[in-house]
Every structure is written in C-alpha cells, then in structure tokens.
Symmetry: C2
Subunit: 144 residues, 2 copies
DNA sequence: TTTATTTCGGATAAATTTATCCTATTTATA
DNA sequence: TATAAATAGGATAAATTTATCCGAAATAAA
C-alpha cells in the first residue's frame, strides 16, 4: 500500500510528535531504534520531511528533530504521505491507466474510487496529534 | 496500490474473459497490445495465472489463452490479486508491523482496517464477468 | 513425419526502491 | 577559538521489481 519510505516517515513523525509534546528533541539513531527502521535510510526520509516543512531539524550539538507544537495538531497524515509517496495512491488509476478519468474509466474505476476516496478521507482526517496520543497512552505501538 | 504485475494480470484476465465469451483464444502478443503492457513480462504473468488455475492455456498451433465459461462468472478479482501480489494488501499492517494484530495495533490500525476491509470486500465481490461486460459494451477501457 | 505455431521456462538485464557509508556543515560549549 | 555533537547530502551498494531474450516443449496441420 505505502512504500517502506512512507511507512518509516509516518512512524518517525509520530515518534517525533510524541517527544516534541514533551519538549524532547530526538536523533535519527533514537528514531530508527524506536520505529525499527534502518538508521541512514530513515535519516534521508527525515530530510524529506524537513524540506516539506513537516518536521523541524536543529543542527549541531543538542540538535535533533522536533515538530512545532501547533503543527502536531494540524499536520495530517495525507501531508506526510504526499511528501514521500506523492498523491498517486489516492488520485491515480487502480489499474495504472495514465490518468483516472470518469469519461474514460478502467474496468474497476467505479468500485475502486470508493475505496480510494475512503483512503483519502482517512488520511486527510487523521492528525499526528491523534496518533501520538495513542502511542503515549500505550494503546498503540510503533514496532514489532 | 497494486504492483505493475498485478495491474497487467487483472487487465489481461479481463481481456481474455471478453474474448473467451466469444470463443476466441488470444496470444500474449495480442493481449499486451490491447492492455498496453510489455509482452514478455505479460507472458510471465499469464503463466502465473495458469499455474493458479485462473486462466487456461493451450500450447501449439491455434493455441492461446482462454478462460472456461463458468470460471468467467465465478472468478473474483481477489483471486487474481492473491495469485500475483499475495494477500498482504488486505491483511498486512498499513505501517509494516510484522503482523496486523488487534492486540498490538499500530497507530493507524483502527482507521486503516476500515479502508483495507472495504478493499477486500470490493475485490471479493467483483467478478471477471462484471468487468468484462463493461469492456464489451464500451463503458470501460483497458488502456490509455 | 516434418513444419509452423505457440506456450513454457530459464537466464539475464534494466530500472526502481531500499539501504549503507563517508564527509561536509552547523552549532553549543568548554 | 578549538572541540565535540549533531544534521545534511553525495556516492555507492544491495535488494526487489520490472522487463527482455532465447531455446525447449507441445500441438495442429500439411
Ligand atoms: S480509471 Fe482506473 S480507477 Fe479511475
Ligand atoms: S496493526 Fe497496523 S494496520 Fe493493524
């Protein structure tokens, strides 16, 4: 469904959000350990999130990654997915036609668009804050 | 969402179904032209569909691919997807945890499973026959 | 039985995704 | 100002997916 890069990106963002809400910056090392992902690869993905203004980075000693408090509440899952995987997952044709077009639909168009639309809404209606809250309370988990 | 192989497999199966319903066998060449896919790669995918008893092949002169009449009506999209991509798409964890487990959920589990379940139902409730019918009547298209 | 036609299947190559490594750059602090 | 700690980013490698090529095997028909 999502690429590995996107999975790591989502989990990393959640972990950073959890820590930022407690005013703690975290390193790629700590992040990759907590979300069970390859460290250097995760660092690359973090750079993409920084460039897309989803997380903030502070270089140098005592640096690390953080998310501004108000961004934790406003950042949607859709923004993270878009930053890493683009919007093909909730815009593209399920059977790979060049464009998903009502006037030139593929065989699964009508049925597929319902699922895709539900995915899009889910991604757009889910904030980092909601997800971070469940991690904090021990209801959900980032690894294993 | 689906792999290229799976996209080609679905489109190929639909094209074969359309032709089998008119008692015409088709070759990988014809199939790949009609669904706009690489021929040799498509041939490999067809072999997988044959091994999974979703399409039938007839070797030698006047051979080609076909689908038994009653199979056109009974074959579900889910069977094709399973034969090529496996069941991870509607069973696996959206964030890549080893298993999707109610008792050890990832942060998106509750929201994701709704989407995934809808996808699963869609795939299980869609038959080759329905899809082939729309192609025949010119309502849907296999390429461009 | 030979020939033409067609799928099967192994080997290989290209492209993309995933992952690692190493150095440069930035920053706090001693 | 020197040093240590930390992210940034380029180069490269490994793994997977996508794609191509070619000969073997099967089959119908001449
Ligand atoms: S055209 Fe294929 S999903 Fe819309
Ligand atoms: S645990 Fe991630 S989707 Fe169920």
């Amino acid at each position: 469904m999502f690429s590995k890069a996107c999975e790591y990106g989502i989990k990393a963002a959640i972990f950073i959000a959890v820590n930022s809400s407690e005013h703690r910056r975290v390193s790629p090392k700590e992040i990759s350990e907590e979300i069970d992902s390859p460290q250097a690869f995760t660092a690359k993905i973090l750079q993409a999130l920084v460039r897309n203004d989803i997380v903030q980075s502070v270089r140098g000693a005592h640096g690390g990654f953080e998310i501004e408090k108000d961004k934790i509440a406003t950042t949607k899952l859709s923004q993270i997915v878009f930053a890493i995987d683009g919007d093909n997952i909730y815009k593209g044709c399920g059977l790979g036609l060049h464009t998903c077009d009502e006037n030139h639909p593929c065989p699964v168009h009508d049925k597929f668009k319902v699922v895709r639309e539900e995915l899009r809404e889910m991604l757009e209606n889910t904030t980092l804050e909601q997800l971070a809250l469940d991690i904090k309370s021990g209801v959900s988990f980032l690894k294993i």
